[in-house]
């Protein structure tokens, strides 16, 4: 694991160096080609989301917390974008329809 972590550190340093180089050249890195800034899956998407009631959610959600929500035929489902800053994507199924929650 330590080796892996060292590798990731080295990779990250390389990425930063390449970005700085591109930035110096073009001023607009990642304009036409994607720029790798983190290793794949370094930000983990949520693949098995768990849900709770509004009353339960209210314990940790702030009133001004920004949500993204689905309003279906019979169900409604909300996701905190602040919580998802650390995940970016939820692979969910809503009313039988597979959806990628992202915003």
């Amino acid at each position: 694991m330590l080796m892996l972590k060292l590798d990731l550190k080295t990779m990250a340093a390389t990425f930063v160096a390449s970005i700085l180089a591109m930035s110096a050249m073009a001023g607009q890195p990642g304009l036409t080609e994607p720029v790798q800034v983190l290793p794949r899956d370094a930000i983990p998407a949520i693949d098995t989301p768990q849900f709770e009631s509004v009353e339960e959610g209210d314990r940790y959600l702030a009133d001004d917390e920004l949500m993204i929500g689905l309003v279906g035929e019979t169900e409604q489902r909300a996701y905190s974008t602040w919580q998802l800053d650390n995940h970016e994507i939820v692979n969910d199924v809503f009313e039988g329809r597979p959806v990628a929650v992202t915003w």
């Binding site: 959600l61 996701y79 329809r97 992202t102 915003w103």
Partner: protein
């Protein structure tokens, strides 16, 4: 928000660690295709050139959400946190994590907007301008759309104004919790678009997918986007 079904396949998305024009690039675990989040387009890999179908969603605060949808379910949360991007979100001069220029001064780079796409046309609706007029009726491509912002701290609801053969126009009613259309005098609940009273009772307005973004991010992927402004 995108549908994960595409051409008979169900895709599962992960975070690629890449940015394009300072926006999230996703990949799918089934085909390894790269997808840009702002427009849902496959940009590299087996599904290059395909487009994910946007799914309509509601963007609002927890306070407004729980009042509108008290029976809803919410993604389980085990601790409180603020947004990791709170400072970034508030800084009008910081465009993107890597740093971008605003290539199109029609709006300030950090203007919060809702982007609607239809049949090759795109329109950016600045959220504050929509809130100022509360009700917007316009078209994007061949889609007649309605944007309704009954309060300053609630969501902007975006609906298709077409119901059957009719294209409807609306006004607020019922303490701004509903709309009444001028053509049939039907009352439509804003929270879910259901007609609760009148000749079209039981029908439902279709919610329209609207991408919530900063202007510079949207403009980077839709440089020909129209910008909606209120009539002076």
């Amino acid at each position: 928000m995108y549908a994960r079904r595409l051409e008979g396949r169900t895709l599962t998305f992960g975070v690629s660690g890449m940015l394009l024009r300072d926006s999230l690039v996703m990949f799918d675990r089934e085909t390894d295709t790269l997808w840009t989040q702002v427009d849902g387009f496959g940009i590299r890999g087996a599904l290059n050139g395909r487009a994910l179908q946007p799914v309509p969603a509601v963007h609002t605060t927890w306070k407004a959400w729980k009042a509108l949808y008290p029976q809803s379910r919410v993604l389980r949360k085990r601790r409180g946190n603020r947004s990791a991007y709170e400072r970034y979100n508030r800084n009008p001069n910081e465009l993107g994590i890597l740093g971008r220029r605003n290539a199109d001064p029609r709006l300030d780079g950090k203007t919060r907007m809702l982007g609607v796409r239809q049949s090759g046309s795109e329109t950016a609706f600045p959220v504050d301008e929509v809130r100022a007029v509360r009700l917007v009726e316009t078209t994007v491509g061949n889609l007649a759309v309605l944007l309704a912002a009954p309060s300053d701290d609630g969501p902007v609801h975006v609906y298709d104004r077409g119901v059957g053969e009719r294209v409807l126009t609306f006004q607020f009613t019922d303490g701004d919790r509903a709309l009444r259309d001028n053509e049939t005098a039907t009352t439509w609940r804003l929270a879910d678009g259901v007609a609760i009273d009148g000749p079209l009772a039981g029908s439902r307005l279709a919610r329209v997918a609207a991408h919530s973004a900063f202007w510079f991010g949207w403009q980077g992927f839709f440089p020909r986007s129209a910008v909606w402004h209120a009539e002076p």
